[in-house]
Symmetry: C2
Subunit: 406 residues, 2 copies
C-alpha cells in the first residue's frame, strides 16, 4: 500500500479524490498496489465532507509523516505551492502536480531538488489536461529528434475562436458566451492574451531543449485583435484560425512563439474545435503525430494526475532523470527573425492600386481575396522583419495580420 | 552499455538499425546508456552491407550469448518468429516486437513466458505503427476505466477510401493506385478484407479486457463492397466512410467488430485521411482522446520499436506485468446483438412506396436522401438483428448497408 496526500482541494484536487475513489479497482490493478489517501490539505472548512477525517490544515503534519511517500499538489499558482512542494521534495516525497505556472517557472529547480532527495517530480497534467502528452514526448518518442511541436493548448480561446468561425460571433460576444458557460474566467486575461498557452509551450520547449526556456522570454500574442473579417478571409483561403503555441528547432536554436495563426484546413489541428486541445509533434523518424482530447476540466485533468500517481507508486525508489536543467545559454530565435508566411488584411479605397503595389513588393505567388471593404492576401514565407519592412511602405491601412502555421 | 540483436532485417528491422545509428546521441541520452547492436539475424546475403560483420544466420549464436539482453523481432508472421521469440524469452532476454500477428495470436503465452523468465515482451509497434498508443493505454490512462476504443488502424484501406471520397475513384481504381504507390500489396486481402485491422483491434481489446480476445472470433468485414453511391450518400448525410476497428464495453462483455462505418464529419476520426491512422479512446474520467499519426512505414514503425528498446534498457530487471492473460470465458457480444444505427441503400423503381414502407417499419426520425437511381436512409439505433428483420420484409433490392459509428 502507498499512502498519499492531496494538497489543494479545489477543482482538480477534488477530481483526484473522485477518480481514486470511483476507479479504485482499476487504479489498484494498474499500480500493483493500493493507493490510500491519508491526508487532504485545505484551509477551507470541509467538516461536512463524508471523509472529513482526512482533512488537515497544517502542511507539516504531511511533511513530517514518513508513511506518506507521494504528495499531489493541485493548489495552482506560485505560492504557497512552491514552498510546499519544496518542503515535500526535501523530505524525499515524490510530488505530482497539475500546476503549469510552477513547472514553467521553477521546474528546473524542483527537478534538481527531487534528484538530490531521491524522489521524483511529475507534471503530466500541467499541459494538455487529460491528454497524455508529457509521457509520450518523454518515453514513446525517445528515439526521435523532435523537430517541432505546435499545439492548441488553451480550451477557452479555442472555444471563442470556434464560435467566431462557426456562428459568426464577434470576439466580445464569443467571450461572453464562454464566460456564461464557465469556460472563461471573469478576468480572461491569462487565457485570451496567450499567457496560459505561453507557459504550456515553454514547458514542452524546455523538454525538447533539455534546458529551461523561460515563458517570459517567449513572444506572446492573444486573440483579442481577431475580427470577423479575418475569419471570413481565412475561410475563403481554406484556413481556420487557432491560437497556436509553437516550438520549431532551427539548427541549435528554437523559434518559440504564441500567436493566433491561420491553420490549413487539411491539417488535423484545423479540426480541433470547441474546448478541445490538440498537439502536433513532429519527429525526425516518426513524422507527424497528433494528440487530441480535453485540455482542461475536473475529471480529465484529475485522470492525468492519477496516471502520474500510479506511475510513481509503481516506481518508488527508481532513479529520477530531470527532463530539463537550468538554462546555460540563450537558444531563442528573435521573433523578428522567425520565418513565416503572413496573412495581411487591408482597408483601402483604391484596391487596384494596392494590389499592384503588393505584387511589386512581394515575390512569388500571392493569394489575394477581397470583400466590399477589405483586401487580404497571404505573403510568401520570409523573415517577419522583412515582411514588415515591405508592408511599412505600402499606402493603405493595415486592418489585421496573422502568421500562417506551416 | 546494453547489447541488443535484431532478428529480421526487412523494412522495419533495417529501419530500427537506421534509427539507432542516426539518432544515437538522443537514444543514448534518453536510455541513460549506450545501445549497442551486437548481431543482426537474416538468412539473406548482407556481405556488402557496411556493417556486414554484425550479420549472423544462426539464431543460437544470439540465444547463447549472455551479453545480449534485448532482442528486437521484426520478422513478421507466425513462424519462425514465434519459435525464435520463445527461445529468446526462455533465455531471459527481453523481446521487442512489431509483429501484430504474433502478439494477437500468442501474446498471452509469450507474456507468461517472459514473466517466468524474469524478462519482458514489448509490442508498441504492433498497433498504430509510429503512433504511441500501447503505452498511453497502459500507463497514461491507467486511472480510467476504458469504455471504448475505435480506430482507423490500417493505412492501405484508409488511402483507398480517401481516394474514393475525394477523387470519386471506384474501389478497383483506388486499389490499383494504392498498389502503384506501394501502399497496398499485390495480394491486398489482409488489408482490404479487414484482417489486419482485426488483429490490431483484438490486441487493444485484450488489453482493455485483461484477457485474450481472439481475432478469429471478431466479426470482420472489409471495404470491397463500398460503392461510389455509398460515398455520395455518406457525404450528403454529413459523414465520411472509414474502416473501423471498434471495441465497446457493454457491462461485463465487449462488442468488438471490424467493419466499414459511416463516421460523422464532426468526429476527429472523419478527418484522418490518406495513409494516416487515428485511434479514439474513451475513458470514464478522461472522456475522448485521439492519437493520430503514421500507422505504418519503415521509420515511423522503427521509431516505436526503438522507444521500446530505450524503455527496456532503462528498466532491465524490472518486474513484468502481463497486459493480458489466457481467456477464461467468452466476453464477446454476438454481432447480431450489437446496437448500431445502420445506413441502407436501396435500388427501386417505386421510391414513394419504399419510403412509405420504411416509415411504417422504423420508429423515430429517418434520414432519407435519394439520387436518380437509389434511395438511402439511416435507421434509428437498434440491435443489428432487429434492423435486418425489418429490412427483410421490404420489397426493394438492397444495394448496400453500413454501420454508423456512434
Amino acid at each position: 500500500m502507498v499512502k498519499i496526500a492531496i494538497i489543494g482541494f479545489g477543482v482538480v484536487g477534488s477530481g483526484v479524490y473522485e477518480v481514486l475513489r470511483k476507479n479504485a479497482s482499476d487504479v489498484t490493478r494498474n499500480a500493483g498496489t493500493e493507493i490510500d489517501i491519508k491526508y487532504i490539505l485545505d484551509i477551507r472548512d470541509f467538516s461536512s465532507h463524508p471523509e472529513a477525517n482526512l482533512f488537515v490544515n497544517d502542511v507539516n503534519i504531511i511533511a513530517d509523516d514518513d508513511e506518506v511517500s507521494i504528495v499531489v499538489e493541485t493548489m495552482g499558482g506560485l505560492e504557497p505551492a512552491n514552498t510546499f512542494s519544496r518542503l515535500m521534495l526535501s523530505k524525499g516525497k515524490t510530488v505530482i502536480t497539475s500546476n503549469k505556472e510552477l513547472v514553467a517557472t521553477f521546474g528546473d529547480e524542483l527537478f534538481e531538488l527531487a534528484k538530490e532527495n531521491g524522489c521524483s517530480y511529475y507534471y503530466e497534467a500541467s499541459v494538455g489536461g487529460g491528454i497524455p502528452i508529457i509521457r509520450p514526448l518523454k518515453n514513446c518518442l525517445a528515439a526521435n529528434r523532435i523537430d517541432s511541436v505546435a499545439g492548441i493548448l488553451n480550451g477557452t480561446t479555442n472555444y471563442i475562436l470556434t464560435r467566431m468561425f462557426c456562428a459568426n460571433a464577434s470576439f466580445e460576444d464569443a467571450l461572453c458566451e464562454a464566460q456564461e458557460k464557465g469556460y472563461a474566467e471573469k478576468d480572461p486575461t491569462a487565457d485570451v492574451d496567450g499567457f496560459d498557452t505561453g507557459k504550456k509551450i515553454s514547458i514542452l520547449s524546455s523538454m525538447i531543449n533539455g534546458e529551461k526556456i523561460n515563458h517570459a522570454d517567449v513572444h506572446t500574442e492573444g486573440i483579442r485583435k481577431i475580427t470577423l473579417a479575418d475569419t471570413e478571409f481565412a475561410s475563403k483561403f481554406g484556413y481556420s484560425i487557432k491560437l497556436i503555441g509553437s516550438c520549431k528547432r532551427i539548427g541549435e536554436k528554437f523559434a518559440v512563439v504564441v500567436a493566433p495563426m491561420l491553420v490549413e484546413n487539411t491539417s488535423p489541428l484545423a479540426g480541433v474545435d470547441d474546448v478541445f486541445n490538440g498537439i502536433m509533434v513532429s519527429g525526425n523518424m516518426l513524422g507527424d503525430a497528433m494528440f487530441y482530447g480535453r485540455g482542461a476540466g475536473k475529471l480529465p485533468t484529475a485522470s492525468a494526475v492519477c496516471a502520474d500517481v500510479i506511475d510513481a507508486a509503481k516506481n518508488v525508489g527508481a532513479p529520477f532523470v530531470a527532463p530539463w536543467k537550468k538554462s546555460s545559454k540563450n537558444v531563442l530565435v528573435d521573433y523578428e527573425d522567425m520565418e513565416y508566411a503572413m496573412y495581411v488584411c487591408f482597408k483601402t479605397a483604391d484596391k487596384a492600386a494596392l494590389m499592384k503595389e503588393l505584387a511589386s513588393k512581394f515575390d512569388g505567388e500571392l493569394q489575394i481575396a477581397n470583400t466590399d471593404e477589405h483586401v487580404a492576401f497571404i505573403t510568401p514565407k520570409d523573415k517577419i522583419k522583412s515582411i514588415k519592412e515591405k508592408l511599412s511602405g505600402i499606402n493603405a491601412e493595415i486592418a489585421g495580420s496573422l502568421l500562417v502555421l506551416e
